[in-house]
Amino acid sequence: MHASARRGLVAAGLLAPAALVFALLFVWPQLGLFLQSMPAGAPLAQYERFLGDSYYLGVLGNSLLLGLCVTLVTLVLGFPLAFLLARAETRWAGLLLLLTSFPLWVSAVVRSFAWMVLFFRNGVASRLLQSTGLVESNFQLIGTFAGVVIALAQVLLPIMIVTLYAVIRGIDRDLEHAAMSLGASPVVALWLVTIRLARGGILAGSLLVFSLSVSAFATPSLVGGARAHFMAVTIYEQTLELLDWPFAAAIAAILLAISISVALTYGRLLGDAKEQAR
């Protein structure tokens, strides 16, 4: 009793600095934002305006779809890479990981500008697609949904890889060997053992990438151009260009509510994953 109370006190003391910063710099302004989104007289008008308009619902849908696509692409590309890096038995493994996280050292704006050059009609990426004959000769990736997915996936891929790497690294290789010595083919062992055990990392990486893509601003607005109808871009427009702050606050609140509910769902899944892995 006494000991547990002291432990609680220590925990509270350890948490206090972060909690204070969080409350001061996040919760407090966020509350102000909520208040601003509900002007006196018509507290729900801004929310009705958003939720009752198919255009704005479309913007929300676009953002969620973008988050989903980017998460899938980074997962599919990132998992094998993270697996290789985690299992590489070379002195260069550390360097390779460093190389993977290299893009994080460059601003997303700079990386997006680079993609813009590749995505113009005469850019390398667009030319490549044109030469396959799958698209029209004047096709360009700039200003398309696919273009935004590609650019954002590249921007966020290192985050997925680093998260997966740490988890895969912690999986005991003997478990895979045991599965294989019991007759499982390497693919089955990978599926039954490695991916199962890496589920926590997969979920954590996906959550990070999803929430970062849903709220991304620089890449969608640069690569998507004026045709980028995403949440963050809409908030920017309402805040800085149309000066409609109550509406911008309402959109921000809706985005936040969705992010929080996604995070909570993930948390539940993560908890289940841990249960299963036990």
């Binding site: 050059v117 151009g225 045709r227 109808h229 149309l242």
Partner: protein, 340 residues
């Protein structure tokens, strides 16, 4: 003490026109504070205008960088006791300032007469000293037959090679209005503009920021866009061939205006400063270095600068009140109909 020497001012007004430091310094010991747009233009104006006025009249001039909207807020807040004498606006704030009684008439100056009547207040409360002239930018190496009208955006050879700014960029709004005008509409009847834009948009590149203009032209893919002449000049200086055409419907423009706070006691110095801005050689230097077109009709522009500016008799005067009042509605419609 720092305010004025009544005697000096009286003598100065009666004295001969400025004739260098040796002449009677009519504003000796006084100071004037002006807002500025910052950047290279501020340094240049300090050198060519403020320092020169100080040499010739003895009045020390200070510039303080302030964006137009902030400057207007300051003008209003300090209406009773202005800390700033001369306000420079680029967003049309001078009209509101005069309407709100925040300005005062300026004493006439030699160069004021050379500014066309529609670029200065009939009662002398404000006067323009520069213009950002808009029009049609194109790649002369790809477009042998220069565009002449906003209707030329429909020429078949331009399909797939057009870019235009988003409506939240001021030039994007002006493009919409000019398209409306070219198709029988106007600021108050914007429908034809949206109809025209809807036909151009599907194969056009819609961009948001000024930084993209050079990238778009440099890509080789974009041959024509509505923007300002100064951007064409910058691109050309960077080695990307971009020419500027004044459309036959006229060139929309952004006015750079000076006006003096109503309670300022330095209207006489401020007027001399504005007169300094309007010196033909200063006007030409502003045009060459910053890209702002001259309003003094006596200005001779260098041949490598003139093609990027619209002359004052080719301007299209847009109704900014209607445009500002419609901005939110037009942006909404643009998002739904044009930038799909």
């Amino acid at each position: 003490m720092r305010r004025r020497s009544v005697l000096g001012a009286g003598l100065g007004a009666a004295a001969l026109p400025l004739a260098g430091a040796s002449a009677q310094q009519r504003f000796a010991g006084r100071e004037v504070v002006a807002t500025a747009f910052g950047g290279p233009s501020q340094d240049m104006l300090q050198r060519m205008v403020f320092d020169r006025v100080q040499r010739e009249t003895g009045a020390r001039g200070t510039q303080t960088p302030l964006l137009s909207a902030n400057a207007f807020a300051r003008m209003r807040a300090e209406a009773q006791a202005p800390q700033i004498d001369l306000f420079m606006f680029s967003g049309g704030q001078h009209v509101q300032a005069k309407a709100d009684g925040l300005t005062q008439p300026l004493p006439a100056q030699p160069h004021f007469a050379n500014v066309p009547a529609n670029l200065k207040d009939p009662e002398g409360h404000w006067i323009a000293w520069g213009l950002v002239t808009e029009g049609i930018l194109y790649r002369p190496d790809k477009v042998p037959n220069p565009p002449k009208s906003y209707r030329d955006f429909f020429r078949p050879e331009f399909a797939g090679h057009i870019a235009f700014p988003h409506i939240t960029n001021g030039y994007g709004t002006d493009f919409l209005v000019m398209l409306a005008r070219a198709h029988g509409g106007s600021e108050t009847n914007i429908g034809p503009g949206f109809d025209a834009l809807r036909r151009i948009a599907p194969r056009a590149n819609i961009f948001r920021s000024a930084a993209e203009v050079q990238t778009l032209f440099a890509s080789g893919d974009i041959w024509i866009m509505p923007y300002d002449g100064a951007s064409a000049m910058r691109s050309t200086n960077m080695g990307i061939p971009v020419a500027y055409a004044v459309p036959e419907e006229g060139a929309p423009y952004v006015l750079l205006v000076g006006c003096v706070a109503r309670r300022s006691r330095n209207a006489d110095i401020a007027a001399a400063i504005l007169n300094g801005h309007l010196e033909p050689e200063v006007q030409a230097a502003i045009a060459k270095d910053v890209g702002w077109a001259p309003v003094n009709t006596a200005t001779q522009l260098p041949t490598d600068v003139a093609p990027f500016m619209a002359p004052t008799d080719k301007l299209a005067h847009l109704d900014r009140d209607v445009i500002n009042a419609s901005r939110a509605a037009w942006t909404d419609r643009f998002n739904r109909e044009i930038s799909r």
